[in-house]
Symmetry: C2
Subunit: 224 residues, 2 copies
């Protein structure tokens, strides 16, 4: 029996690539990448295509939501704000790198594509516990999105959001990805730079810590 | 006290303009228009700007989700499918004019803008009873979207979706809009044409019936 197609949202970061690697063991995937005017968009897109090539994904799409840059409201989008060093983050508030309602937009694009492709599953590499405090990375959020999807699509369509790494720590993601042979060398996590990773933004620090905890060397280059 | 800003999703059709007219009595509004590659996009955009001019709206934005045309899956988007005459519609299925997950995308764009503008309300002119059977026009759908929004935005943000015409029949919308002096002459409803309305697609037929039932002449021109 032919297995139903899924769609993986692949940013080009390590979480989404490992989430896709996990899902690929169970279903064929199309890869979807969404740009939203973020600083490192071109670099992330390169990682997306490299990962899709690695997994020999035939159906892939890049969609632009670059109008989000015009909205602003995030240090990932607005060049007049700086991406904070991890030491500048407050633990009790949503960081300035939060992009308003981003995951809902990403998932909605994926659901729209899934309905036309007759795909049954959307795979997203969100991480709850070890994430940066983004409201739209929590399990509760994805449950609400799944409910909305069941109500908002054609009654004969069936689409479920899958979050295979949501309960993992970043170091577990490194270990699981390594077991599965995920191409970490092709992924990009840095919020600031596009040549060598800065090593100091929140995203770099979390990545470096995860590889260190897992006892596995991070194969990408960092500014010294 | 300065009243909190709302954002009205204004397609340029009669329902959204009347919904905005109702909301404007209670709050100042920014107008948001989303194109998605539909056949009549340019004509609808003209109606959007004309309505925004009529209400002297300063903050207005047009956002493109034209990638939806590439996804296809709707007769509003795909030129190889024809927009059905109302007589060709089956009453028990979602019509081919349904655009996959469109309202979720529209609302998500609005929420993202609202979070950056600090707007508290999103106004959408969806109509449940007298709509064409779209799953994402039902009250239940908007309740699920409101729950998702509460969970998915910053905890300090407060945004509610308002559907001021959802329980009205189309003829009630005509009557209420007439009372409020809404500019029906500037609105556009036809799914097919962009010069004179066709008078035969589902959207035209519902509009014509509504004006007839309300005993009010429809001020736009139709093909004879």
């Amino acid at each position: 029996m032919k297995k139903d197609l899924g769609i993986a949202l692949v940013s080009g970061g390590m979480d989404s690539v490992v989430a896709a690697a996990i899902a690929l063991r169970k279903m064929p995937l199309a890869f979807l990448h969404v740009t939203y005017g973020q600083r490192t968009a071109a670099r992330e897109q390169r990682s997306f295509h490299a990962s899709a090539d690695f997994y020999e994904i035939e159906q892939r799409k890049v969609v632009s939501l670059d109008f989000l840059r015009e909205f602003g409201g995030s240090s990932l989008l607005d060049e007049s704000l700086s991406v904070p060093d991890v030491s500048e983050l407050k633990s009790d508030s949503v960081p300035t790198t939060y992009v308003p309602f981003r995951n809902t937009l990403l998932l909605s694009v994926a659901v729209a594509w899934a309905e036309t492709l007759d795909a049954k599953t959307i795979v997203i590499g969100a991480v709850e516990e070890d994430s940066a405090g983004y409201p739209d990375c929590r399990r509760e959020y994805f449950e609400a999105f799944n409910r909305l999807t069941q109500i908002g699509i054609r009654p004969e369509s069936e689409i479920t959001i899958l979050t295979p790494v949501i309960d993992m720590s970043k170091s577990e993601i490194v270990r699981r990805g390594t077991e599965l042979g995920a191409p970490f060398e092709l992924t990009w996590s840095c919020y600031r730079e596009t040549d060598k990773a800065c090593g100091r933004c929140d995203s770099c620090v979390r990545r470096l810590r995860a590889f260190k905890e897992a006892g596995i060397p991070d194969p990408i280059e960092y500014e010294s």
